[in-house]
Every structure is written in structure tokens, then in C-alpha cells.
Amino acid sequence: MKRGGRTAVAAWLILVAASGIWLTQRLVLTTDMSAFLPQAATRAQELLIGQLRSGVASRLLLLAVEDAGEEVLAKASTGLADRLARSGQFETVANGDAARAARDLQQLFALRYVLSPGVVAERFTAAGLHDALQESLALLASPLSAPFRSSLPQDPTGELRRLARLFERPGGPATRQGVWFSGDGKRALLVVETRAPGFDLDAQAKAIATIQRAYAEVAPAGARLRLAGPGLAAVTARATVERDAARSSTIATIGILLLLLYVYRSPWPVALSALPAASGLLGGITAVSLWFGPVHGITMGFAAILIGEAIDYPTYLFAQTGRHESLAETLGRIGATLRLAVLTTSCGALSMLLSSFNGLAQLGFLTIVGVIVAGLVTRWVLPALTPARILERKLAASFDWPLPAWLGTGAAWGSVLAIACVALVAIHRNDRLWDDDLANLTPVAGESKALDRELRSQLGAPDPRYLVVLTAPGREDVLQKSERIARVLDGAITSGAIGGYELAARYLPSEKTQQERRAALPDAETLATNLGKAMTGLPFRPGAFSPFLAAVERARNEPPLELESLGGTAFGTRINSLLFPGSKDWVALAPISGVRDAAALAAALRSSGEHDVLLLDLKQEADGLVAGYRAEALRLLMIGLACIALLVCAGLRSLAATGRVLAPVLAATLLDVATLSMAGVKLTLFHLVALLLVVGVGTNYALFFNQPQGSRDEHALMLLSLAVASFATLLSALALAASGTPVLRAIGVTVAIGTVYALTFSALLARHPGRAASGPGR
């Protein structure tokens, strides 16, 4: 081992050890998918991202117990709800159980004179109270009103009943056996809201495990639990991707090992081949962790694919080493090309650093560091560690690239350019090239999406799609605005445009409204007189309603209801998710359920004349967001390509050579996109990332095809290295393409197609010893 080699190996070992120690001690992995969302450009998008990350809709899990008799299901529902409520992991657990709802109402009973919209001055005059008492009399007489009987002495004006009706879920599920059921009575339904935000996948997974454990304790024979919701979808998606990715990479690893063993006929070069890519990944993750802090799981996944190119580096070195050549001599021949291959990939990734998306920037940084480390390890560490003789048993490279003899340079150029033009036209003519549906970025099977929709409609759960957003300078302002908008929304319910809505002001009226309600309550003496008059002619016992007099007097003297005094109750947490301070002002959200006519709702909101009222269609915003993301990624891809072109031009110092390198890559990329779109595939972000890899490996193929030619043997060795490298890439791409996960399949198919095209076009345009010898038009 030479001195330089020893230094390189020592430096490499120190780097690997330091990275290893850093990662084991300090690596923080996050699973927050929203890192792959951009910095919000608009107010609506800011809210959208907030909602996607942690909004109520993102925290809802929908549960269904089915396949058993109605009574059995109802019992399981109650048992499950009790256990979940006790677990402490859920803000709310709702299964329609009247007792559960009654407990919630009990909390509000003490606050009825502040909360009930029925509290107006006329209600507490002698005439108003007389009506109320007549109503009470009818209630007293009707056995059906027994549940409200006990509150009559304290609440003869029926504010509790009014609140109960207010909080009923309009368009909600049918109730059987005291709990929620689907319309056909075959499913008991529950809705829970996790404490953990939707983006915290680990916490969501824990909540789901809690549900499954609790269900196992109450599970009736033969019945089954079905779950849906954004948290479940994300957790399942992560698990599926991890499982499929692990399976694909195992298959690919075995395939590549067998391939390399076949080529090198010795285990040592095979083992050494893994070092550059592994070191690169290790170094890259460490660098991202040092620079950005928490590393995104998905960044690592993508980066592992992009760094996959680095697996080719040792192949280029080992496969091109001649029979009596040292690795140092080989590097002397191919070093410049290898350096250019590393630099072009880093350069392509450099553009991603400019991205406003934290996830993409991380991905770019990881790729740059990873590829450079892998290049350095190949250049300096491998020669020091590899004894020349272990490559001696390598497969004899005796084949030439099979190029049709009739295909001259001009014809080859002509056909490649023609193909590129046709592809460009095909792409241009396809107006449905991109898939901007955010939902399609999550690898959830269509079946679970359908279940989610079904349960959501059966439950009347807030559609995660529509949201009215109100903003105002202060909390009081936004609450007053909410109360005005509530009247508009009530109108929309009456007209049938929407099914219902949620609003924080229901649970926390504005101080103005509280003040008005308190002012509507007469003083003790007046109320007693009014009540006395109201009781004339009715058979109530004198003094029967003294608890009422006391309650009103108490309500008159109570300090205004603050959010703080609702803390810890189901309503307090509900309010917090619907009312919060934004960056500049206060925000109130009104999730709308059962939207039947969004246009009518929008028109009603517009004609209310209120400012800063926004009807947010989350789906539309999300689609817009994805389109923006894609546009930026595409722009970065273009900048990356331009950088690569400049670099290749500078490295090769020849326009013709630059053309021979870039033309096949561009043609391959275009034809790849055209092929996918003609096969009916709509492109997503994942296809773009895959195209980046195609550009990376394609450039390498073209660079090696065009490296300064030596002997025919050297040319044959170069062809061998390209055959091995491309076959290895194809193997891993096909393993991904065979996966059941749409995301992985998208990447695999794109890379597989692109690799074949890039290799073919590079070969067609390459300078060729045979061709050079015989000359064009032989």
C-alpha cells in the first residue's frame, strides 16, 4: 500500500467511524410528509398545510365494527369507546352513545345562560316564562320527555334542550341500540380524534395500535373492525413502502451480487464494490443531519435511489482493469471520465438545493455529498484496498457492442434526433401529462380510499374537503364574525346546500354576545315577580322553580366565559382546533359537512358582505400545491440539465463530444416520458425523481462511451463495464417495478425504461473503433 493510499484509507476509516458515531448518537428521523410541501405561497396554502399537518380532519380516525348482530355490535361499540376514552390518547371518542353525549352536555349545563341562543329578554318576561312553563308542563306529562325531567326545576326555559339540539350532528348517522350505526344497520360506527397531530406518523401508529388492542378485548366472535382516516392511510402507506422497498432491495441486492460474482469470479471485488455507495449514503445522511437537523425518512428513501448510481463507480473501475494492469494505471485512463461522472451528478443535484421545499433541498444535499464521497472512495480507497490479483479471474471481455453495420454516424444522429422530436411532440400533445391529485401521491390502495369515503358519508363526519376560514385582528373580532357567518351557514343548511358545520363560537360565544345574553337576564326580584305571574293558572307547586331563580342570579354575576375555563373539557380541545392565533391575526375555522352545493355556499358567503371570509376547497388547493411543486421540480431539473451541459462541455473541451454525451441522455429522457404518457401513466413527482436518476446514469454511460479510446481491448473492457453497470441498474429498477406500491413502481418503471433508452442511444452515437476503422458509408 502506498503512502497516499494509506492516508486515504485512514481518512476514510475516520470518516466512517465519525459518521457512524454521530448517526447512532444524534440522528433524528422525522416522518413529517409535509416537509415535501412547499413554503406556502398564499394564505390559503398556509392554512391548507396547517390543516394537512395537524387539522381536525387529519386527526380523525373512523371505526366500524361489522359482521355481527345489531345488539352485539352495539355492545362492542360501547366497550370499545369506553376503553379508548380511558386510554388518554384521544381528544374525543364518539359513538353516538347518549350517556356519553349527556356527560358532555352536563359540562355545558352550568354555562347554559351564556351558550344558549335562546337567551333573550322576552324569554324571561312573565309572558315568556308562562310559555316556557306550559312547555315544561307538557314535558312533565309526556313519558317520552323523561330524560329531561330532572333538569326542569333548574331549567324551565329549556336551554339544555336547545343546546342538545344545537350540538346534534345534522346529517349524522342513524342511532340503533343507543349507538351510531350505518343506515343499513350492519355496522356500528365510531369516530375518534387523536391527540397527536396527523403528521406524527409514529404517534398515529401508536393510536391505531391502541384501537386494535382495545377492540381485541371487546371483539365479539366473528365480527371485525375496520378502520379508515388520514392517519391510518399515512401509517399504512409508510409500512407498505417500507416493506415493499425492503423486498425490492433484497431482490435487487441478490441479483446484483450474483451478476458481479459471475463477472469477477471472486467474492472480494464484489464485497469491495459495496464500499463506495455505502460510504456515500452514510456520509450523505450524516451531512444532512449536521446541516438540516432532523432527516426525513422519505429523503433517505429517494437518496438511496439516486446514490444507486454510485454502485456503478467500482464497476467502471474493476471491469475496466486490464489483465496485467494495476488499478492505478486503470484510474490513469478512466479517472477523468469518472470525475466528470461524479461531478455531473452532483451538479444535477445542486439545483435541488435551490428548492424552497425542505425535502427536496435535503435530497439534493444528500445526493451531492453521497456521490462525491462514493467517487472519492472509488478513486482513493478502493485502489489501496484492492490487490490487483483478485481481479485476475474476471470474465474475459471478448464481445463488441452489436451495432448494425449499415448504421453510419449520420444515420445514427438522424434517428436519435428524429426519435427525440417525435417524443417531444407526443409529450407536448398530451394535455393530461401530469397527475396533480395529492391523494395519488399516497400509496394507499383504492379499496381503503373507498372505505374512508363510505364511512365518512355514513357518519356525516366533516368532509376534509371544505372549510370556511375567517380571519380578524383579535379573538373577540373573529368570534363576532363567526356569529355573523353562522347565520349565513344556518341559511345554507335550510336551503340544503350543506349538511352542517362546526364553529368555535358555538362553544365560546363572543364577549359581545355573552354580554347581550347576560343583560337579557332580569335581576332576582324582577325574575321572581315574573315567574310568580307566569305560574298563575298552572298547577306547579310554589317554589318548584327556586333552583331556576338561583341559577339565573348566579349566571348574571359570573365573569365572562373564557377559553381557559373550558380547558380540559371536550369543548375546550374542540375550540382549540377551530380557533387559534395565526401569524398576524386570529383564525376561526368552520369545517363544513355534507356539502351538496359548494357554489351556492360560496355565493351566500360572498353576498354576506363580510371580508376575510374564505371558502377553502382543500382538494383544489392541494392539487394547486402539487402542481406548483411539480413546476418547481421541473424547473430545477432544467437548471440541473443546463449545469450538466456546461460541465460536460468544460470537461470534454469539445462541442462535438458534448453533443455525443448530451444528445442520447436528452433523447432517452424525452422518450422515457413519451413512453410513459402513451402507456396512460400520469406523471407524478416520483417520476421526476426517477428521471433525475435516468439523467445521472445516462450521462455516465455516454461519458464512458466517449472516453478517449485506447486499444481494442480497452474498448472491450469499457463495454463490459457498461454492460455490467447498466444490467445492475436495470435489475434494481425491475425489482422496484414489480413492487405493489405505486410510488416504487413509478420509480422502477421510469428508471428501467430510461436506462435501456440511454444505453441504446449512447451506443448509437458513440465513437466506435470499428466505425472509425471502416469509416462511414463502408
Binding site: 310559555d131 308542563l137 309526556s142 342511532t175
Partner: protein, 181 residues
């Protein structure tokens, strides 16, 4: 309030026989007088009105005095309309098991539907076909908190008197038929 004990235990009546008699009635319309005692009231509240029954699951209670209120139970739907207060409220029967049980106490009796009755109540039957007494004790805990017992007295296929004891101590006695005062 004790009901007059059946005087002739000679011709005993069993539940299937009573249910069969009741089930043979397709429809009925009777006037009623209901007297309600409550801790909130200084004197019993007396309601007068009409009861209408249509086989198998329609029940109407029209209160005509001292106020006007109509309760219609048809299948699973309940509508209560108070004309004086201009209030109308509808709900689905299945939305509360306690209320369902309460209604079935009367409706299943009228329909002669023993299984429905058994589902919600423990049943005791005394007396002879001409004078029988059916005592229903709720099985459901929630209902038991609201209603402790329902006693229905009748002669052959006709209901004569319904007594409901509520958990709160309130009690109502309903007399049915032309002889109701």
C-alpha cells in the same frame, strides 16, 4: 296505588292467550284521562284526549286539554306537535333505547307482540281473561332509572288502565275507554 286484585282466579290467563287476544285487534280509538302526580305540581295534572292505535306499529296520543299536543309514533318515527306553543319536533325512535323501551311497553302490548315485550321487560301476568293485570319491569338499566314499573290492567282485548311509576317518584295513571271520567 294498588289495583283491584282479580277476584276470580278460577279461570287463569296465560301470556300467549292474552297476547293472542290483543293481536286480533286491528285498530282502536279510545278516549283517555291521564292524571299525573309530580313533586313539581301542587295538584295532579289531568290530561284528557284520545288514543289511536293501528296494527302493527302506529300509536297516536292526542292531548286535547288542558293544552293541545299530538304525539304520533309510526314505525320508528316519532313526531310531537304542540299547537299552542307552535312547536313540532321529530326524532327517530331508535335514537334512544330507553325511549324505545318505554314506547314498546305500550305498543307491543297493544300489538300482542310478546317477544318485543320480553326484550325490554320482565313480565308478570295475573288475573283472568275478563280482568287481567300485566306488570312490566324494565330490563334496561337506563330505562329503569327513568321508569320503575308499568302496570297495565285490562279486560279481554281492551286496555283499561295504565299506571307508570317514574324513577323520580312521579306517577301517572291513565284511564282508557268510555267509562273514563
Amino acid at each position: 296505588m294498588a289495583l283491584a286484585a282479580p277476584s276470580t282466579p278460577a279461570a287463569d290467563l296465560d301470556l300467549p292467550a292474552l297476547m293472542a287476544m290483543l293481536a286480533a285487534v286491528p285498530a282502536a280509538k279510545e278516549s283517555f284521562t291521564e292524571s299525573k302526580r309530580s313533586a313539581l305540581l301542587s295538584a295532579p295534572l289531568v290530561l284528557k284526549g284520545t288514543l289511536v292505535y293501528g296494527r302493527p306499529d302506529r300509536l297516536e296520543k292526542h292531548v286535547l286539554s288542558p293544552y293541545q299536543e299530538t304525539t304520533v309514533i309510526a314505525g320508528g318515527a316519532v313526531t310531537i306537535e304542540n299547537r299552542g306553543l307552535k312547536q313540532k319536533r321529530s326524532f327517530t325512535l331508535s335514537s334512544s333505547s330507553a325511549i324505545t323501551a318505554l314506547i314498546e311497553g305500550m305498543r307491543a302490548t297493544l300489538a300482542g307482540d310478546a317477544p318485543a315485550l320480553e326484550r325490554h321487560y320482565r313480565i308478570r301476568l295475573e288475573g283472568a281473561p275478563d280482568s287481567w293485570l300485566l306488570t312490566l319491569t324494565p330490563r334496561d338499566e337506563k330505562l329503569a332509572g327513568l321508569v320503575t314499573s308499568i302496570r297495565i290492567a285490562g279486560a279481554r282485548e281492551r286496555l283499561k288502565r295504565i299506571e307508570i311509576d317514574e324513577g323520580s317518584g312521579d306517577q301517572s295513571v291513565m284511564l282508557i275507554g268510555p267509562e273514563a271520567p
